[in-house]
Symmetry: C2
Subunit: 263 residues, 2 copies
């Protein structure tokens, strides 16, 4: 049994310092958790006015201020954190999520499926779909609009993820319906850490969710306020892929019939 | 705009004659529809006591009594029917679904993912995942437990299915939650024609559903009575795969990232 959950908050566009202050207080409230998921682009805000602004709010994954902040909090609180941020690497931007733990940086994921105007700012992710073994559990990461693509949930499951961490800045009203179903068909726990608030006429939907391996929503956050939610997750349930006495949601797959998906 | 829907009923195990009588009356009530979906194994019932009983209730797809019955009704009522049946072919049984129209047999699908004791009676399907072009729409077919596997919904979508017909004898409580989400992520209309009733201690869940391309359930049937439900479907919606002005649920896929699914 582990304790995991999400932080929902309202990042301020263009004010990383303020965002770290907000997150610091919210992370303190999550003390005792093993794993906490924080929304997409939590350092910078989302709806950049220009490419210049997007670059001005980006930072390195190795030694940027936001990643150092996350590492410090993870060490202080003895927990693992998955947090979205605007990543600068060799003059390119990525919509990334960092995974840090009590001993520092573990790895990162770069969003594969870009949404709307993100195409104007970010490169498509180029690090594939890693699964990270934290010892007590294995985690995969997807970011926001990646939710539409059943392939990526499936791949992370096949690679052994117990928990799929899903930092988000959701605008469409659909993910809260779909994410628990991905948990049902893959028998994973899924944590969607969403933001709320409005930036330059784009409104985010809050209602962060954590769902179980039978497709049930364990908790849905409110739509427009800060919230820290941590719960117990029994990883025996994500490691047992049997859905009946004779059926397994993974080994019953028939890859020979699925070849079309690679075209 | 076309008219499509489902028939929910309670097949009698071991009494194909009675089942055809029931279906004849229910099909008459669907007059005016273009496409009607009927549950899995609608000729025979589901929970066979023995291999002998399973064989005794099976019939040929070419000239069996049930398929002739369906073809006659389709011609009389000028509609297309997708119906599950117990198919005998060269001394092997398949859990199949027949597609017939006003001009006779169009094709069939054989269930790929077998459930529980079905492994004792049926061969796994060997006809792949066909999509049938009816002129006014393209239909794919999945049967019952196939619902767990996101791959097959995706493949039928990529092959052009507007409507995925899903004859079922559902026992688990999950499909009614998942099927609309497959419609959302693939932008297809999905029709789950379920049965109700109890056979030798197995109870089926009724609650047949038809869902739209935004994941909304258009209608859910009751859990334990006959029901015929027909509605208008706007196929422009299943042919437009854009989910935002700049995002398409199919062409935004990144097959190069999905190779693991073929292993």
């Amino acid at each position: 049994m582990i304790r995991a959950g999400f932080i929902q908050f309202n990042p301020e566009l263009g004010d990383p310092k303020k965002n770290m202050e907000s997150l610091s207080a919210l992370l303190d409230k999550s003390a005792g958790a093993n794993l906490v998921v924080i929304p997409e682009l939590a350092n910078s805000g989302y709806n950049y006015e220009s490419k210049e602004q997007a670059f001005s709010l980006a930072e390195s994954a190795d030694n940027g201020e936001f990643v150092r902040f996350l590492s410090n909090k993870a060490r202080q609180l003895n927990l693992f954190i998955v947090a979205g941020f605007n990543e600068l690497d060799r003059s390119k931007l990525y919509n990334s999520a960092m995974l840090v733990g009590p001993n520092g940086i573990i790895g990162k994921y770069r969003k594969l499926h870009l949404f709307m105007n993100e195409f104007d700012f970010f490169e498509r992710g180029n690090l594939g779909l890693p699964v990270f073994d934290l010892g007590f559990c294995k985690v995969g990461i997807l970011i926001c609009f990646d939710w539409v693509f059943p392939e990526v949930w499936r791949i992370l499951t096949i690679k052994g993820a117990d928990i799929i961490c899903h930092p988000s800045n959701l605008v469409l009203p659909y993910a809260q319906q779909a994410v628990p179903v991905y948990g049902l068909i893959n028998k994973t726990f899924n944590i969607t850490a969403n933001r709320y608030g409005t930036e330059r006429e784009v409104t985010f939907s809050g209602r962060s969710i954590i769902s179980d391996t039978e497709g049930k929503t364990i908790h849905t956050a409110v739509k427009d306020a800060d919230e820290v939610f941590i719960t117990n997750l029994d990883l025996d349930k994500s490691r047992n892929k049997m859905i009946t006495l004779r059926n397994n949601v993974i080994t019953d797959r028939l890859p020979g019939e699925y070849l079309d998906l690679t075209k």
